[in-house]
């Protein structure tokens, strides 16, 4: 029972910590992309493409934490 409790605490800490960085990162990159699209609307297509690539890079780290949570214990 003690081990099950510790595993649960570990899962919570793992995903909680893993979500901080990508959350901030995606917010920053999304905000910058929005700002740039407002400054120069004709570049909107290219900016949107690059934004999706950047979001995918940072989101991968958060999801890695999420999946490791399920693989624990």
């Amino acid at each position: 029972m003690e081990q099950a409790g510790l595993i649960a605490i570990g899962k919570g800490i793992a995903y909680g910590l893993a979500a901080i960085g990508p959350g901030l990162g995606i917010g920053i990159v999304g905000g910058k992309a929005l700002e740039s699209m407002a400054r120069q609307p004709e570049m909107a297509g290219k900016l949107q493409t690059t934004m999706f690539i950047a979001i995918a890079f940072t989101e991968a780290l958060a999801l890695l934490g999420f999946v490791l949570t399920f693989l624990m214990g």
């Binding site: 493409t49 999706f52 690539i53 995918a56 890079f57 989101e59 991968a60 999801l63 890695l64 999420f66 999946v67 399920f70």
Partner: protein, 294 residues
Amino acid sequence: MEFKELLSEKIAELLHELSVLPFNTLESHGPVTSAGVLTNYTSWLIIAFVIVSAMFIATANASKKRLAIATESGKVTDLAPAGRLMGMMEMGVQFIRDMASDVIGEKDGPKYVSLLGTFFFLTLVSNMLGLIPGGKSFAGSMGGTTALALASWIIFVVVGFTKNGFIGYFKSLIPSGVREMPLFGRLVLGGYLFLLEFLSTFFIRPLTLAVRLFANMYAGHIVLGIFAAFVSMFWPFVQPALNASIGGIAVGAVSLLFLIIMYAFEVFVAFIQAYVFTILTAVYIQSSVHASEH
């Protein structure tokens, strides 16, 4: 039953359903332990393969017919795609061709259109099939995404070696400005950058390609399964509901609403992950092809 026990039982059942199971029995008994067994993931991959092949072969036949009509009549306008299937596939292939030309360059881009198109359409159709209840996307298993990421990695490394030579590719990992510095700068900065770029090119890129696709698909299915488990616990369908009062029905209704919203989001994520895998492969190929300009 108690809420905790029922929930953990349903989560265990969900994780069992999402694991790689042999296909020969309707009640699957456990993980696959030998190679060459038809599993639930590979059978859905075969279905996706058949769908994608059928679409493209039909389009190829239709365009051959248009070519025959055009050579007979001599009019250039007869070469244009006609009909719904050709129009739809024209949009898809144009999408991939524009991506290849924009990212890899005008000269080398068109050579990689078939590769990128294969990655994109197979992953897209397979992810969409995985959203059907009971359907599986090959990206939802670590084996499937590892295979695809390995293919992508081998291709961009081999392209780098053939275009730049064996030593030339390793030399291009260090930027040209650093290569012209005096000896101390070359050793320290160049060594550090070489280590970083080597790790990135040979280890981080294939690993993150595989894990990104797997984690997105697997996590999405788990979230959908958990919301569905909540609905099945609080709304009486096959088993008596946990709390057959207004509160219980309300919890079931909220879970159903979240389930529908997450389903829409999962369709979006399926498309985005296929697109991101393809465009990252294109970016890696571009950095291999244009390595001499680093």
